[in-house]
């Protein structure tokens, strides 16, 4: 097994785990963790392609931007979840049902 495929394989597994987490978890924070897994799977792809595909700097820059954006997104998402907890006393996203379904 050559190295690039190993990385892509691991990234694909991470992506699937993230997808699984987002779909099955009902805890708001756990869903966010699933999303982080998806973002990091993409990051792993970028870095693997950068190393083995000979496109060094661009892949690294992309990964850096993704890390920054993931941090910003997590900050906003956690703030929203804290606000949800203050108002609903729960972070289970199935219990947050004020709107018509």
């Amino acid at each position: 097994m050559d190295s690039l495929n190993t990385y892509l394989f691991i990234a694909a597994i991470l992506f699937s785990l993230g997808l699984f987490g987002v779909i099955t978890r009902r805890n708001g924070v756990a869903v966010l963790m699933g999303i982080e897994l998806i973002l990091n799977a993409a990051n792993l792809n970028f870095l693997a392609f950068a190393k083995y595909g000979g496109m060094n700097i661009v892949g690294h820059i992309f990964a850096l931007f993704v890390i920054i954006m993931a941090a910003a997104e997590a900050a906003v998402a956690l703030a929203i979840i804290i606000n949800i907890y203050n108002n609903f006393r729960t972070i289970n996203i199935d219990d947050v049902r004020e709107l018509q379904q």
């Binding site: 892509l8 999303i35 998806i38 973002l39 993409a42 931007f65 949800i84 108002n87 947050v96 049902r97």
Partner: protein, 497 residues
């Protein structure tokens, strides 16, 4: 162009950046009650931005910052459209009762940040830029959707928005990483070239990546099956933000989709040639056609069952995204032309419909059909104006909505017999939509008891209503200025293979 030269063509964005900073700093000097005055700073900044766009030489078609952004009349068109929508939304926000008791300084600053993000979205020609632009718009709209901190519905809207938003942009990012690996570059032009030389064995990976990327784009324009957030977020957010989300980010999303597909999947020249042109084996025109059909059908069918007008308008905005998507599989300049005209018309009628909802709510009413019963007799002017918007949203002449739909259907039919079925489905959908739009009119004029006292809205409300309703009627009769503006703007920076 290199970085320093690019700055001279980057004035609108620079002015916007300064506007955001000035707004945030100015807000520090206002008391909580005066905080709404920051709207003036944002308005001033937007006017300056608009002037900067107008003063730019529209004959220049080039790329900025080492092929990160495109500079062309197409981008300027969408930037102007976004500024127009934002100015309307700022005026609408002044009249809403939902924001009472909240500090609104950040609200206006976030709106300006969203404008900046959308400016990048409409001109991005690099995958990194695409991702950053979408995230800038998304993150600020998450906050705006949940702006009413103590309102449970607004809380829920922001939670759903942030989860679906982060999820779909994550999936899009994974798709982008695969495209990056296949093409070896993040630039649209380099990807296009790599596609040209791609071996057949990579087709599957590329199709998969395209579907992943469509998840991100489809989420921005709320196309089915990436629409799950739309009804809840539209219903729970402050109505002014709902109105904004249904117009501006949608326009920016369409601008991005058109640029991306035309450049990466087309030969880059399809704008001069009205025939179907795509060199890849990927079935992406079919993919978009199917997406358009399920988007408008689901939007219309579910809209019929709603009792909340805000929610009904949310599903109707999904249906309208479907109509616009219909023109994309034609891969012709005529299709893009139709989408651009449609977006202009859609801006006036949709903002208008949401503004009526805001006004009725601030008059002590609610958002359901029951709250609208007898409205036509109680506040006649609002009833009449709402009727105009509903007729226009259905697409009945002589209103702007009809002209928009006319161009879309013309583009679909002109592209040849293989898309006739799409036009037929679109026609059936328009008929379905007649049911729920006319239900609003029926409730307003034929239900509820007619009241003796007639309310006349204050002058400022009348002014906004007229500014939205008059173009809706005028552009249905005399749309030459819009058509001219759009055809002048139909110049993209492309590289032809």
């Amino acid at each position: 162009m290199n970085n320093l030269q690019s700055l001279s063509l980057y004035w609108p964005e620079l002015i916007l950046t300064v506007t955001v900073l000035v707004t945030i700093i100015a807000d520090l000097f206002y008391s909580a009650k005066e905080s709404g005055k920051t709207a003036l700073w944002v308005l001033g900044g937007l006017v300056l931005t608009y002037l900067a766009i107008r003063l730019q030489d529209s004959t220049i078609v080039t790329t900025l910052f080492m092929e990160n952004l495109a500079f062309d009349p197409y981008a300027s068109f969408f930037k102007t459209l976004i500024i127009l929508a934002t100015v309307f939304v700022i005026f609408i926000s002044q009249r809403t009762s939902e924001l009472d008791g909240y500090r609104t300084g950040e609200y206006y600053a976030l709106l300006a940040i969203m404008v900046f993000g959308m400016f990048l979205m409409v001109s991005a020609i690099d995958l990194i830029m695409v991702y950053l632009a979408i995230e800038i718009v998304s993150i600020s709209s998450f906050i705006l959707a949940g702006y009413l901190r103590n309102d449970l519905r607004s809380n829920e809207a922001s939670l759903k928005y942030v989860i679906y938003g982060a999820f779909s942009s994550g999936i899009m990012l994974f798709g982008l990483s695969i495209v990056f690996g296949l093409a070896g570059s993040t630039k649209f032009f380099a990807i296009q070239e790599a596609m040209w030389n791609l071996e057949g064995s990579a087709d599957f990976a590329f199709t998969l990546a395209t579907i992943f990327i469509l998840a991100g784009f489809g989420y921005k324009i709320s196309a089915v099956p990436f629409h799950f957030w739309t009804p809840d977020v539209y219903e729970g957010s402050p109505t002014s933000i709902t109105a904004y989300l249904s117009v501006a980010p949608k326009a920016a999303g369409f601008a991005l989709i058109i640029r991306f597909f035309n450049q990466v999947f087309g030969d880059g020249a399809s704008f001069m040639d009205p025939s179907l042109t795509t060199y890849t084996e990927l079935p992406w025109p079919q993919l978009l056609a199917v997406l358009a059909v399920i988007t408008m059908t689901l939007g219309n069918l579910v809209a019929m069952q709603q009792n909340n007008i805000k929610r009904m308008l949310a599903y109707s905005s999904i249906a309208h995204a479907g109509y616009m998507l219909m023109a994309l599989p034609t891969l012709s300049s005529q299709g893009v032309y139709a989408v651009m005209i449609y977006l202009v018309m859609y801006l006036f009628m949709n903002l208008g419909a949401f503004f009526v909802v805001i006004y009725v709510k601030s008059q002590g009413g609610g958002e359901t059909f029951d709250d609208f019963s007898g409205l036509g007799w109680k506040i006649p002017i609002v009833g009449i104006v709402m009727t105009i918007f509903m007729i226009s949203l259905t697409g009945i002449p002589p209103t702007a909505g009809f002209i928009g739909k006319f161009y879309i259907f013309a583009a679909v039919i002109n592209s040849g017999p293989q898309l006739y079925w799409l036009a037929i489905v679109g026609g059936i959908n328009s008929v379905i939509s007649l049911y729920y739009y006319m239900r609003v009119v029926k409730v307003m004029f034929f239900e509820g008891k007619s009241s003796e006292s007639v309310i006349v809205p204050p002058f400022a409300v009348l002014l906004i209503l007229m500014a939205l309703a008059i173009p809706t009627v005028i552009f249905g009769i005399y749309w030459v200025p819009i058509a001219n503006w759009v055809s002048k703007s139909l110049v993209l920076f492309t590289q032809v293979i």
